[in-house]
């Protein structure tokens, strides 16, 4: 919570909602807008609205967590797929390179998943773009690959898009709730 600009000598009590010092004779809290001198109905309406926003914030946090977890799933699937391909095609010239590339991509998705905790919107935008690009490049090499794991791909893309929207909504609500 941001520190209030009000200095103690000007106050006579603290706000019941955000605990910020209240300036004498004010009708509304300077920090959260709580109607200090409002009717009981106005005060209850304010509290209900604020609680509703907090519930929304929890729902958005859950969506963002799901999107963040999907990045770990992508990372895990790339690592497993990389090793499977390596052991199936050990004789191939580029077997080592393919394994290395899959491990690097896994690492990138793990980093994006970790980053999504502090900068969810950016992490999800970059992750979705990279994931889409990998699907396209795989389809160029082997067009059948686009159909493999199609349902999982749809789920991951959906989670990431929902995560992006949730990150935007959450940022807006956090600004209001301070």
């Amino acid at each position: 919570m941001e520190s209030s600009p009000i200095i103690p000598q000007q106050v006579n009590s603290n706000c019941t909602v955000c605990s910020t010092a209240i300036v004498l004779d004010n009708s509304f809290c300077n920090n959260c807008g709580y109607p200090l001198k409002g009717t009981e109905e106005e005060q209850n309406s304010f509290l209900a609205n604020r609680m509703s926003m907090e519930i929304d914030l929890d729902a958005h946090a859950a969506s963002m967590k799901k999107a963040g977890n999907s990045l770990y799933w992508i990372a895990g699937s790339f690592t497993i797929f990389g090793f499977i391909m390596y052991f199936m095609n050990q004789e191939a010239e580029d077997a080592g390179f393919t394994l290395g590339l899959n491990i690097v991509l896994s690492g990138i998705f793990v980093l994006l998943a970790l980053w999504s905790r502090s900068k969810p919107l950016t992490a999800f935008i970059v992750a979705l773009t990279l994931y889409g690009l990998i699907i396209i490049l795989n389809a160029v090499v082997d067009p059948k690959s686009i159909a493999s794991g199609l349902i999982i791909k749809i789920f991951i893309v959906t989670w990431l898009i929902r995560g992006m929207k949730a990150a935007m909504d959450a940022e807006k609500i956090r600004k209001v709730l301070n």
Binding site: I6, S27, F28, C32, M168, E171, K175
Partner: protein
């Protein structure tokens, strides 16, 4: 000396409420008299941000489609189609700039031109380009046992060297700076903050080159270009940096091709 309450209130910095004009202590988030919000709502509505994000998605999608066609469809694998695709991409970039002209036009000016600064940036571009050339050549030879030379495709043409420089150095420097810096960064700034806009634009610019192995130099280079764009508030330093970077690659390719020719003649 103790101050009484009225003196303290008098000495505190104040402003007027933007709704009821009552006196509000500076820094307050709400007016104490009417409860109106006093903060500038710098987080735009989600619907507006999603609309902007869709526009960015369309911009990137068109680039991705055209780059996939030129890279992976054999039919388009010649210089004629390369020129057509380059022109189309430039047209796409110009269109998106035109749609966002009011915001972008400021960055097309170059009010504080500094020769010293330009020389410094060009020096950095040359060093980065040489580092990239040697490392990517080593990686290509080590991992794929091959070398890439853009000049081979132009060598048989009458003005091959000039065409190579126009296609690889001049055209991308202008077109990509217009699209991925002037348009894209400004569009992203409507969705995210400055640092995130720099990173996302750099990530998209790197991914559009469709070479995972080149990310190690593409990402830092595009972050550098985006940073210079924001810092200098003009796209022109970036254009020259980009041009110098690509020009060095062209010169390496031309010189290595000439060297091979000489060796073959001997």
């Amino acid at each position: 000396m103790d101050l009484n309450t009225s003196e303290i209130i008098q000495n505190t910095e104040k402003q007027l409420c933007n709704n009821c004009m009552a006196v509000v202590i500076t820094g307050s988030r709400y007016c104490g008299a009417c409860g109106h919000s006093q903060t500038d709502d710098d987080v735009p509505e989600t619907t507006y941000r999603i609309k902007q994000l869709k526009q960015v998605g369309l911009f990137f999608g068109i680039h991705l489609l055209l780059c996939c066609l030129i890279n992976f469809v054999d039919y388009f694998d010649d210089l004629f189609w390369l020129a057509i695709f380059d022109a189309t991409l430039a047209l796409v970039n110009i269109t998106f700039v035109a749609i966002n002209w009011q915001v972008v036009k400021t960055y097309l000016k170059w009010p504080d031109f500094s020769l010293q600064k330009l020389s410094l940036y060009l020096g950095i571009a040359l060093i980065l380009s040489m580092f990239t050339h040697y490392t990517i050549t080593w990686l290509n030879e080590t991992l794929f046992d091959k070398s890439i030379n853009y000049y081979y495709a132009f060598a048989h043409l009458k003005y091959g060297k000039i065409l190579l420089i126009l296609t690889v150095a001049v055209s991308p420097a202008l077109s990509e700076e217009l699209g991925f810096r002037a348009y894209l960064i400004n569009a992203l700034l409507k969705i995210v903050d400055l640092k995130q806009a720099i990173f996302i634009s750099a990530a998209l610019f790197s991914l559009i080159h469709m070479s995972i192995i080149s990310l190690y130099w593409l990402l830092p280079f595009s972050i550098f270009l985006a940073y210079i764009f924001i810092k200098e508030k003009t796209m022109w330093y970036g254009v020259f940096i980009h041009f110098a970077f690509n020009l060095v690659t062209c010169l390496f390719d031309i010189s290595s091709d000439s060297l091979i020719d000489n060796l073959l003649i001997k």
